[in-house]
């Protein structure tokens, strides 16, 4: 079965919704593909209907945006994964998989709004049940379930504060919130770039409100602290924490033990760039933007003509930036396809200053909340780096001693990155480890090659499409 659209938007989070809306409003025929069961992505995560009366303001906003998208005439396909993206002539072919099976979607332009996933970093005990990524803990809370009773949050950025407050509200005890960035840096950078914060009231209020609740409830917020290890026999029973230096390396002698049954780790996000990579778009290593990201023009086009990338899947910048970029890419595509010519210029003129201001905020955020290299130095010899294939740091060290110098070589030598997650959990960690051990840059070590299918698919799915 082949389907067609003028524009295909991949991803139904803030960036994808805005992209679809802005293009469709100008008359472009748009298909929006989303992996989720419900619209919104992670940012506008929609709670189950049975507890929907308790939807947050943000969730209601997301539902409203989705409604607008639908009313604009966008064809919305939920529970749909895109597992390959190829260019043939002026046409883009998207290989998709939904509950009914595989199909191919052809388009004249593609906007990738694939979002990001959380950045894990191994430490002894990080595979124990009870250690979760912070966003995963938040999703559980949205589903009406407590991730644990006594929770330690470790990592960086405002999400930690927001989730800590939600945990308190839900009845959990929060042992502490550890922020990797030091207090002095938070204060000095924040004050020196106060202009970047101007107009960000809603965001600042959410962070400040959460912090105020934590302080009032006596939860310690420790800036310049991190985790050393989680302990427990069957599940988490406690953790060792310590002070960090400016590279986020542990300061010996500052260790403390805390009792907890749950550890949430939130070191920020990694862009999901696999589809742009697969399409052949040039990538660059930009640590502060989340790692490997597609190189984009001012109009958000990748090096592959008519393939655009917006939002956290292109560089980590948060939901507001994603929405602005989505709107812009939608306009650009509309203009390209000769729709709504009279209004594109005018709308664009309004968008550009808003984008510029949002990027100032993005840069401040990066300076404060990009984890230092220390987070990649916590694993001990027997700590797993690759969770799927069970590859320890020791095994990786041995591979490096035997001459392994790139991620791809490490994969061949140890099987790291060959499991179901396709290297999404271990990729950055392995690359950082090899870079550190060999004196190369992460760019030189490289990450995994993108190969279709980019998600594990049931056997037979690929054959089904080939036959057509």
């Amino acid at each position: 079965m082949h389907q067609q659209a003028e524009l295909v938007v991949v991803g139904g989070g803030p960036g994808g919704l805005e992209a679809a809306l802005s293009a469709a409003s100008l008359g472009v025929q748009v298909s929006l593909l989303d992996a989720g069961r419900r619209p919104g992505g992670q940012y506008f995560y929609q709670p189950p209907s049975c507890i929907a009366p308790y939807a947050t303001r943000r969730q209601r906003k997301g539902a409203k945006l989705w409604d607008q998208v639908r009313q604009a005439g966008v064809r919305i396909q939920s529970e749909t994964l895109v597992w390959d993206l190829v260019t043939s002539g002026s046409e883009k072919k998207l290989y998709c998989y939904d509950p009914q099976g595989s199909f191919v979607l052809k388009a004249r332009a593609v906007i990738l709004a694939t979002g990001a996933y959380e950045r894990p970093a191994a430490f002894p005990g990080w595979t124990l049940p009870g250690v979760l990524l912070t966003g995963g803990a938040q999703t559980l809370l949205y589903q009406g379930v407590l991730p644990g009773k006594k929770v330690l949050l470790v990592g960086t950025g405002p999400l930690q504060l927001v989730v800590a407050k939600k945990l308190l509200d839900a009845g959990a005890q929060v042992v502490a919130v550890l922020e990797g960035c030091s207090t002095s840096k938070l204060v000095s950078k924040g004050l020196s770039q106060i202009g970047a914060l101007w107009g960000q009231w809603e965001r600042l209020a959410e962070g400040a409100g959460s912090l105020a609740t934590l302080v009032r409830r006596g939860v310690p917020y420790r800036a310049g602290w991190g985790i050393l290890a989680a302990h427990g026999t069957r599940e988490v029973e406690g953790a060792t924490i310590a002070k960090l230096d400016s590279d986020w390396r542990l300061i010996p002698g500052s260790e403390q033990e805390v009792a907890c049954d749950t550890v949430c780790i939130g070191y920020g996000l990694i862009p999901f760039n696999t589809l742009s990579k697969l399409a052949g778009a040039e990538q660059a290593w930009r640590q502060e933007l989340g790692g490997e990201v597609p190189v984009r023009s001012e109009t958000l086009e990748t090096s592959v003509a008519s393939v655009y990338a917006v939002g956290d899947g292109a560089e980590i910048g948060g939901a507001h930036l994603s929405r602005l970029e989505g709107r812009m890419a939608g306009l650009v595509v509309a203009a390209r396809l000769e729709h709504g010519k009279d209004v594109v210029q005018e709308t664009m003129a309004k968008l550009i200053p808003a984008l510029r201001h949002e990027r100032r905020f993005q840069r401040l955020y990066e300076e404060l909340f990009t984890p230092g290299p220390g987070i990649y130095t916590l694993a001990q010899e027997d700590t797993l780096i690759c969770r799927c294939e069970g590859v320890t740091k020791e095994k990786l060290s041995r591979a490096v001693e035997n001459g392994v110098g790139t991620f791809v070589e490490a994969k061949d030598a140890t099987r790291c990155g060959m499991g179901e997650c396709q290297g999404r959990m271990c990729g950055h960690q392995v690359a950082q480890f090899i870079a550190r051990s060999t004196g190369k840059t992460v760019d030189e070590v490289g990450l995994f090659h993108a190969r279709p299918p980019v998600f594990p698919l049931p056997i037979g799915t690929l054959a089904q499409v080939e036959e057509e």
Partner: protein
């Protein structure tokens, strides 16, 4: 554990996990339904460790289960249905 303050507006349904009945609500994922009982590990990794929810968004594949005979489904991405049969590859005694 369910959050006490969240009023649930729909009737509970029953799913079976490793032969035992579990109570769940429409909109639960298999992972949230298992977590709600206090059980936090249900998948045995290749390295023979007990795993459960880690990323919670379908990326890490640590929460794999078999549902009605279909292998390797992510518990965090699979919605519950009344009468669903979930089997795991982890029996805590054998670890």
């Amino acid at each position: 554990m369910r959050i006490a303050k969240r009023l649930i507006t729909e009737e509970a349904i029953t799913i079976t996990v490793d032969g035992k009945p579990y109570s769940a609500y429409p909109g639960d994922t298999v992972a949230s339904a298992i977590y709600a009982t206090g059980k936090r590990a249900w998948h045995r990794s290749r390295s023979n460790e007990a795993r459960g929810l880690f990323c919670g968004m379908g990326v890490c594949y640590d929460c794999l289960v078999t549902v009605d005979g279909v292998d390797n489904l992510r518990a965090c991405q699979t919605l519950v249905r009344a009468g669903m049969t979930v089997t795991t590859n982890l029996e805590s005694e054998t670890l």
